[in-house]
Amino acid sequence: MSVYGLYDNGDAAQLAVDALRASGVTEDAITVISAEPMEDYEFGNINRRSRLWYIASAGGAAGCAGAAWLTRFTEVAWPLPTGNMPIVAWWPNLIVVFEMTMLGAILSTVAALVVTGGLARRRPALYDPAVSSGKILVGVEAPRDRAAVERALISAGSPVVSR
């Protein structure tokens, strides 16, 4: 069971988030959903830390290593003299290595976004289509003290919805 309120603007949503905190709800348990990023408000910075940069770097490194192996392996597997170049010709290989490095970084970024952002998951999550009309949803999934959460949400000026 989830409990949430729908607010008209960021100021009201901020009040609701503050009230939830005051009632003892931890930051991780608070869900704020909006139709646009709300970084001008304090609540817009909840859950800001991510490892996306590290994951992208690791993906790039994997692409780099894979391409270096592929180019060297194929050249050695069937040695073919070309234009007086050495059999393992790193100057042209660097082009393939560069492209695969960037492709690795790009693909790992997107994969990390899907996984860490909770996209494409099957289980139902807290949501209300009114968000698309400009409302800001502030709520708690499976609250321990439901009455306290409802009081906090109502104090910020929204009727409470339970699902």
């Binding site: 008209d8 603007n9 960021g10 100021d11 869900t31 704020v32 959903i33 909006s34 139709a35 646009e36 990023p37 709300m38 001008d40 408000y41 817009g44 910075n45 909840i46 859950n47 800001r48 991510s50 996306l52 940069w53 992208a56 790039g60 180019t71 194929t74 050249e75 597997a77 069937w78 073919l80 070309t82 234009g83 170049m85 042209p92 290989n93 082009i95 393939v96 560069f98 492209e99 695969m100 960037m102 970084a105 790009i106 693909l107 970024t109 997107v110 990390a112 976004l113 860490t116 952002g117 909770g118 996209l119 494409a120 998951r121 807290l126 949501y127 968000v131 698309s132 009309s133 400009g134």
Partner: protein
């Protein structure tokens, strides 16, 4: 902007998706018929053989490779410009980025078709892919044509994802407003997007990483396309400046393509409230700068060749400056420098109409430039006995025309099914109070005061 104006913004930008006029069907039918004729011509060429084209000894690259280089150049409009504007946080980018990114996706697809059309036996294109044949022979990774495969497929993958990621919140918006089959389709495309603070942060971080990654990829793509030429010992091809020269030319034609697309969207989708004159003025200034950069490269190339006075190179030099290709050469100079410089350097001419005229001129000029890189050098190689002529045949002309129709058709269909301006990014640019604007935003907001 108030809640009501957000509603108006949403309604305005979703209108093309919800309402369809007879003009849309007429345009799609017209463009579709040209594309169908182009496909039919291609099949005819495959059936009859490559002899239907004007390509013959010694000019083995002509219209198709010209189109390949031209469309890959046009593709630099989108992702590269969008990525740069995102990284510098230019406020005026918000209505522009998606229009631009779409150009990249479609122009790359069309451009990548041309080496396949040029193969004559397109069903063998998979020979370029890095796989071992039945005799365990791999493609030669030392060949520039294999570099093309890696560069274009990386850029296409990156550009499609760079286009798709910021569309996810807009797909969710459409999902919530739609019913029936549309709701299901947009629901799938939205990937379960809800708009939690965590998702917004992840999306914005991912877009930053993608922007950083895609800029060097975009530069590398046209550099590698230039390597197709500069790696060959052909007069006026074997040059160290071809990489930056091609990249500059690509950005030049790309900006021109973007201005034409934005002006068309503004006119036909009635987006005057979102695509302001200042957007065209800013892009016009960029186009002017690129025009001068292009002139600098052309001058450097011509002066170096002339000063070196190598017989083989001077043959190509003279045939373009005052020989049989000179009408095309001087038309190119007029289209790429004289017309855009005259229009865009004068502030009172740097209007939307002026920018569009300059952009059409640049597109023509840049297509001619690609043609003049490819054909005169091949038809005037070092040994005079191997000189030859090239005359384009109807199949090549028809397929070329069809690709322009295909680009317009794809763009039209895209703007019918996806908001062509990012709705959430426009809303995000609208801060809740003036006091919360970061100082540089005042400058970026200039567009709204000009509207």
């Amino acid at each position: 902007m108030s809640h009501v104006s957000h509603e108006r913004l949403t309604a305005d930008l979703l209108r093309p998706l919800e309402q369809t006029s007879w003009r849309f069907y007429l345009l799609v039918a017209f463009l579709g018929s040209i594309v169908a004729m182009g496909l039919g011509t291609w099949m005819y060429q495959m059936y009859m053989g490559f002899g239907m084209t004007g390509i013959n000894m010694p000019v083995y690259w002509a219209f198709y490779i010209t189109n390949f280089v031209f469309w890959i150049g046009i593709s630099h409009a989108g992702t590269l410009i969008s990525a740069i504007l995102r990284l510098v946080n230019a406020g005026w980018r918000r209505p522009v980025t998606r229009c631009a990114e779409v150009i990249t996706a479609f122009a790359l697809m069309i451009g990548a078709m041309f080496p396949i059309i040029h193969l004559g036996r397109p069903w063998l294109f998979f020979w370029l892919m890095p796989y071992p044949s039945q005799r365990l022979i791999w493609p030669n990774f030392r060949s520039p044509l294999v570099w093309d495969f890696f560069a274009i497929s990386t850029y296409l993958t990156g550009s499609l994802l760079f286009l798709f990621l910021p569309m996810i919140p807009d797909f969710a918006l459409i999902r919530d407003r739609a019913t029936g089959i549309r709701r299901r389709i947009y629901g799938v495309l939205a990937l379960g997007w809800r708009g939690t603070t965590k998702q917004w942060h992840r999306l914005e971080t991912a877009m930053q990483i993608m922007a950083i990654a895609i800029i060097p990829v975009a530069v590398s793509v046209h550099t590698i396309v230039s390597f197709d030429f500069s790696m060959a010992p052909v007069p006026m091809w074997h040059s160290t400046m071809f990489g930056p020269y091609f990249v500059a030319g690509a950005i030049f034609s790309g900006i021109a393509g973007l201005i034409i697309a934005m002006a068309s969207l503004r006119k036909f989708l009635h987006l005057e409230a979102y695509l302001h004159p200042v957007h065209f003025e800013n892009l016009g200034k960029l186009l002017l700068m690129m025009s001068m950069l292009w002139a600098y490269f052309i001058f450097a190339e011509r002066l170096t060749t002339w000063f070196g006075n190598d017989t083989g190179e001077m043959n190509v030099f003279y045939v373009t400056q005052r020989g049989s290709f000179s009408p095309l050469y001087w038309t190119m100079v007029v289209c790429n420098l004289v017309i855009p410089f005259t229009i865009l350097a004068l502030r009172w001419l740097r209007t939307i109409a002026g920018c569009v005229v300059a952009s059409f001129s640049v597109c023509i000029g840049m297509w001619l430039e690609r043609f003049l890189i490819v054909v005169p050098s091949l038809s005037h190689k070092y040994l005079t006995y191997s000189w030859g002529h090239y005359r384009p045949q109807p199949v090549e002309i028809m397929i070329t025309i069809a690709t322009f129709a295909a680009m317009t058709l794809l763009y039209t269909l895209f703007s019918k099914f996806v908001p062509i301006i990012s709705i959430w990014e426009l809303k995000a640019g609208d801060h809740p109070s003036a006091a919360l604007y970061p100082a540089p935003m005042h400058e970026h907001k200039l567009g709204e005061t000009h509207a």
